[in-house]
Amino acid sequence: MYEFLTSTEVYNFIKGPLVWVSFIIFIGGSLYKIISLLFLARKDKVVYPYMSLKYSVRSIFHWVIPFASTNMRKRPWITTMTFSYHICLVLTPVFLLSHNMLLRDSWNIRWWTLPEGVADVMTLIVILCTLFFLMRRLIAPEVRFVTSVSDYVLLAMVAAPFSTGFLAFHQLFFDYNLIVTFHILFGEIMLVAIPFTRLSHMLFFWLTRAYTGSEFGAVRHAKDW
């Protein structure tokens, strides 16, 4: 088993064709989901007539800036954890040195890289926040009431590439070849899961926010934050 998982063939496969497959599914799937929702929205006759760019932007603005909405101010801990988590989640894989080196080798593309120490801290933030969210799901009654297995799986699915990446880079506890194989696989699993699970909130949040912003702002002359 160990020989198989750490073999050159498997490594080349997950680092090569499987990356293609997972990105195609991720990008293609995301586009499909967004476009099909936009088409479906035509059938829901109230959506397009009331959409307003100005009020959509106004609403999105108040919800992507930390503490810009009332509920965010009422929940400072959750707001801090959520924003840290998401910022680190998105920026770390994109600007990581190890990933940038692969990008340079494969495509001769170079872009800005995070200092190693900063990347480490960001990864640990993701893991720490995962634990915070996990605790929230287990302890807070209003969250526990609506939590099921899938919610834990989603948390784990996102935490997996980050934890294995950290372990791989620092060559902690596990054999490097083995853990890096898992890291790549977990990363790919997470990517393909995005369009087809609740991780798609990344794609849809803009649209639901825009619609509510339009309804509240343009139609109801009220603030939705």
Partner: protein, 444 residues
């Protein structure tokens, strides 16, 4: 698992009706709604909700029940739509009973939760879908359905005949003429500037409100009219019941009456849901983007009268007052500033609530919950504990409610929580403080 505890409530509109249903019929109807009626928004909201629970603190039911998680908005959706979707519509009578109870009596469709959800999910819309399913299966709280039936049969929700309406209008006119010279309630005046639209409860029980508006109109010198025929009532419990067809029928009748009278705009009385039905839900169902004629709520109307000097204030109310922000008018139309303008102009000691404006809590009466009436009164009173606390904290003696549901609801909760306050409509305040020109006063 957290246990959901509810006291048993007998409502034949729900209990008896589920007995007539078989799983096939339920499945077929639910899938019709999911497939043909609900579409993009349902999909987007259910798929995007990350089960974070941040909507909980927004809901007055949740807060009034000491943060019982089963009352949170997302919990309401979990107990209804998630079940339904998971089973692809194959739910039994007992599940449907639970869905009806939650959708009709544990949510006022106030939309405060959408302001707290980071994704702006319209939980009220999701609850409305559940109500729609229940309506199509005939499972609706008895008293609520009674009002919808009245609407279908008589075009008003109080089983009033045309005679009842005309007699009442003429009676109030007569009464008012003892105080105001030549006061009239012009019925069917073609070409008038404004058609006034009122609530059938005012014709049945609160007739002094009709005299109030007639007094205001006469003093302000407004060219107005009300139809003598069907279409004078603006109530719409069908909207709350999920009976969108009847909702549309009532709204169409109302606008047709206005078209027939060739008025320039419609001014309505102090009601919240009627505004929503006429300007949003009903008009949209009929294919209009918004109401086909300018539709002005009493709050805006009174604001303009005072601002333009058509009504002058002779004296101000001395007792401390506070104001309820009706969900459909403030969160639903941004009329909070106009409301406060009127109150500051007419009252000396105004003590605003906290939180206020869009962030004010629902009084737990709107959205049809008040109209689910007696079986559910306790549920409504328990859900409004947070509102009672808010009111008490202001130290006011009068609570101004520019909405019929709020008026009755706040009145009930003041009683129940022994707050010792009075509730008043804006019109009641206005007729008390407004200046009556000498030439209009009847010599004693």
């Amino acid at each position: 698992m957290i246990k959901v505890e509810r006291k048993d409530v007998a409502d034949p509109g729900i209990d008896e009706k589920v007995k007539n249903l078989n799983p096939e019929k339920i499945e077929k109807t639910i899938n019709w709604v999911l497939g043909k009626e609900a579409a993009a928004r349902l999909k987007a909201y259910v798929q995007t909700c990350i089960h974070c629970g941040l909507c909980s603190e927004a809901c007055h039911y949740y807060l009034s029940h000491d943060r019982d998680p089963s009352y949170a908005p997302v919990a309401k959706v979990r107990q209804t739509l998630w079940e339904i979707l998971k089973r692809k519509g194959r739910v039994d009578g007992e599940s449907l009973k639970r869905c009806a109870r939650i959708a009709y009596t544990e949510c006022n469709l106030c939309r405060r939760c959408s302001m707290y959800c980071p994704f702006g999910i319209d939980i009220a819309y999701l609850i409305s879908i559940v109500r729609r399913m229940c309506h199509l299966l005939g499972v609706v709280p008895q008293y609520l359905q009674a009002r919808i039936n009245s609407q279908m049969a008589t075009m008003n929700s109080e089983w009033l005949t045309q005679d009842d309406w005309i007699d009442t209008a003429q009676w109030q006119e007569e009464e008012l003429r003892m105080e105001i010279k030549n006061a009239r309630i012009p019925l069917d005046k073609e070409g008038a500037e404004i058609m006034y639209s009122l609530h059938s409860v005012e014709v049945k029980f609160m007739t002094q409100l009709i005299a109030n508006i007639a007094k205001i109109m006469t003093v302000a010198g407004i060219d107005w009219t009300i139809p003598s025929t069907d279409g004078w009532d603006n109530t719409n419990q069908a909207m709350h019941g999920g009976d969108f067809e009847t909702m549309g029928m009532a709204v169409r009748k109302h606008f047709e009456a206005a078209f027939k009278l060739k008025v320039k705009k419609i001014v309505m009385n102090e009601c919240g849901h009627a505004f929503k039905a006429m300007v949003y839900d009903g008009s949209r169902w009929l294919g209009w983007k918004e109401s086909p004629l300018p539709y002005v709520h009493a709050i805006q109307f009174y604001y303009e009268l005072i601002r333009d000097g058509k009504i002058k204030i002779a004296k101000k109310i001395k007792e401390p007052v506070t104001v309820q922000d009706p969900c459909n008018l403030v969160r639903g139309r941004g009329l909070g500033d106009m409301l406060r303008y009127i109150i500051n102009a007419t009252c000396e000691d105004f003590r605003d609530m906290t939180p206020r404006y869009e962030h004010n809590y629902c009084c737990c009466s709107g959205g049809g919950v008040l109209h689910a009436d007696k079986p559910w009164k306790t549920v409504r009173l328990e859900g409004s504990r947070i509102k009672a606390e808010q009111l008490k904290a202001t130290g006011a003696e009068i609570a101004i409610t520019a909405c019929h549901s709020c008026h009755k609801g706040v009145h009930d909760l003041i009683d129940h929580y022994k707050l010792g306050m009075h509730v008043k409509f804006l019109s009641e305040i206005l007729v008390e403080v407004m200046e009556i020109p000498e030439e209009l006063r009847v010599a004693k």
